[in-house]
Symmetry: C2
């Protein structure tokens, strides 16, 4: 297994950039620790470390919208990775947008550019 | 100025994903604090916070290979940004590669896929 430099950060977490494997659109960023990295390589499905829940997170475990790994890139310092994925369900963001980066800066405001792919209330249930 | 959630991380640093504004290739990832964010917005050139030097870092300050900001995207949690940039000099990585992510995972090894754009010894001087 390719070792990453998990000692680089204070909390042992490294950023994983998630890109659509076909369009190269950046869908999200999440963090990985050694366990999440190993689980991703073992299963071919993107796993992260949830900082809010402090637990391993299989992306899509609630919604079924998993991310199938097509390619993994590692940076020059072994402390950041790119996951090129097929996003099942079409949307990576919990808001229902395809990408978490659905807002662009326009002067002093943020403009939402893209339509939602799904209704979060239907996918996750009303909360 | 658009506020980001700098309290999200232990060290007050947020990840900035850097993409080529035309090809959408991910060139690098670096971290920003409030000062780097403000300087980027003020100047239109990508600034980061260097964790190794613990100081503000204008990308390209040594090599002249600055990153001109074409668009900025902000994620759903206000804790990660995408800088879509024009990379002056053609290469973002200190190794001379266009992207820091020039290696892909192939089974249990990393394969360097892309040629160098420049010779680091010529750009930064021999060390």
């Amino acid at each position: 297994m390719i070792p990453l430099n998990f000692n680089k950060s204070i909390d042992g977490l490294l950023p994983a950039i998630v890109q659509d494997y076909q369009s190269n659109e950046v869908l999200m960023l999440a963090f990985i620790n050694k366990l999440a990295w190993e689980k991703t390589l073992e299963t071919g499905k993107a796993h992260y470390w949830s900082r809010s829940r402090n637990s391993l997170w299989l992306k899509g475990e609630t919604s079924g919208h998993v991310q199938k790994i097509h390619q993994i890139l590692v940076d020059c310092d072994d402390d950041t990775v790119v996951y090129k994925v097929e996003q099942i369900g079409g949307a990576a963001c919990h808001t229902g947008h395809r990408s978490c980066f659905y807002r662009r800066l326009d002067g002093d405001r943020l403009v939402a550019e893209k339509e939602k792919v799904f209704d979060p209330a239907q996918v996750y249930g009303k909360k």
